[in-house]
């Protein structure tokens, strides 16, 4: 954790070794997977924009706001195989075991949360996965009672 010094350059120094990020790149892209090695060399001077995600072909936004950390994702049975990045295919493979949340995908595949949200959004748009968005944000008393009963039953 670094505390930014206001007197410093407004550009944080590039940290090598943070895998999913490059220093710069196109903010939006048509999609598709670009292996790290094929990215053109980047100018360190351009780092005052958010370093975009390589795995998401540079997209850092466009993630569906409906896709939260705990949002459950399931695989669509029988969706035709499509050409996706290895990371996206790994997500589909993971979901075939059981439905899990975006946060679990992120942790188990060691992908950044933001990257996962975008990839899941891509897979959803392609009909490969279902994203189970809850109808209402505020939990109802019945659900809370069920959680309370469930918690009480553990020892």
């Amino acid at each position: 954790m670094t505390y930014p010094d206001p007197a410093d350059e407004p550009v944080p120094p590039a940290r090598p070794g943070v895998r999913p990020f490059l220093q710069s790149g196109p903010k939006h892209s048509a999609g598709g997977y670009t292996p790290t090695g094929e990215q053109p060399p980047v100018e360190p001077a351009q780092t005052n924009t958010l370093r975009p995600f390589v795995i998401t072909a540079g997209r850092t936004d466009g993630g569906d706001p409906d896709i939260g950390m705990e949002t459950q994702v399931t695989v669509v049975p029988g969706a035709p195989p499509s050409r996706f990045s290895p990371e996206a295919r790994a997500i589909v493979a993971l979901l075939e075991e059981s439905p899990i949340s975006v946060a679990e995908i992120s942790a188990r595949l060691r992908l950044h949360l933001g990257v996962c949200q975008i990839l899941v959004g891509d897979l959803r748009a392609a009909g490969q996965v279902d994203v189970h968005v809850l109808d209402n944000d505020t939990p109802d008393p019945e659900t809370i009672m069920r959680v309370i009963r469930g918690l009480r039953s553990i020892s």
């Binding site: 954790m1 670094t2 930014p4 206001p6 007197a7 407004p10 944080p12 943070v18 999913p20 990020f21 005052n48 958010l50 370093r51 939260g68 950390m69 705990e70 949002t71 459950q72 994702v73 399931t74 695989v75 669509v76 049975p77 029988g78 969706a79 035709p80 195989p81 075939e96 059981s98 439905p99 949340s101 946060a103 679990e104 992120s106 942790a107 188990r108 950044h112 949360l113 933001g114 009909g127 279902d130 189970h132 809850l134 944000d137 505020t138 939990p139 109802d140 008393p141 659900t143 809370i144 009672m145 069920r146 959680v147 309370i148 469930g150 918690l151 009480r152 553990i154 020892s155």
Partner: protein, 208 residues
């Protein structure tokens, strides 16, 4: 979806064993465990979770204003933060997620996403560094999220009484201030039950 799933099922049988019976996704609910570094958030999550706590990393961009140089324009900083979380399966259709989140002010921008749909929060306090939890208390008060202040009694010891902690935090009367031991599952369970009681109160009030 603009395709007919039944038409595709034939194609998919090779990929998904028994794919004709898609598993139903459980409803997720979540509780936030917030507090400063080293107060026992991860221990709390680990004590109650049925899996060992998972860590997700998020790269965050935040606008930070130069406090020492008020004339200076805001600037962007990028920080990688790690969040620990655990899962508790209540039943086939209900899953409780417990997210441990750093409580610093400069991470407050991510709490908006985190508290969306959350049942409530447990603010973990170490009485030796009580001010670490101020940002979390401030935030949850403003967000209107039900929360409980949980004093983690390391080794069964507390530097201050619960009344003193309540006085120092100046939380409303209806916010419970409790003590618990993050190392013990039953203790964490009871702390979370207090959070859920608060959540239930709020949910019932909102419904009526």
């Amino acid at each position: 979806m603009d395709f007919d799933p039944s038409a595709n099922r034939v194609v998919g049988t090779a990929r998904i064993p028994g794919g004709a019976t898609p598993k139903k996704a459980p409803v997720p609910v979540k509780i936030i465990v917030a507090g400063g570094f080293g107060v026992g958030k991860t221990t709390t999550v680990g004590a109650i979770s049925e899996i060992s706590p998972l860590t997700t990393e998020a790269e965050m961009t935040s606008e930070s204003v130069g406090i020492d140089n008020p004339g200076q324009a805001t600037m962007k900083t990028t920080t990688t933060i790690a969040m620990d979380f655990g899962v508790l399966t209540i039943d086939q259709t209900l899953k409780l997620y417990i997210f441990g989140t750093p409580g610093q002010t400069r991470f407050a921008f991510m709490w908006d996403d985190l508290v969306k749909g959350a049942l409530g929060a447990l603010v973990v306090v170490d009485t030796n560094r009580i001010d670490d939890c101020y940002p979390a208390v401030d935030y949850f008060e403003r967000a209107g999220l039900p929360f409980v202040v949980g004093v983690n009694t390391f080794n069964g010891q507390m530097g201050y009484s619960l009344d003193e902690v309540r006085w120092a935090l100046a939380v409303r009367e209806d916010v419970p201030v409790i003590s618990y031991d993050a190392r013990f599952r039953a203790s964490v369970r009871d702390a979370l039950l207090v959070v859920l009681d608060q959540a239930l109160d709020k949910a019932i009030k909102m419904k009526s």
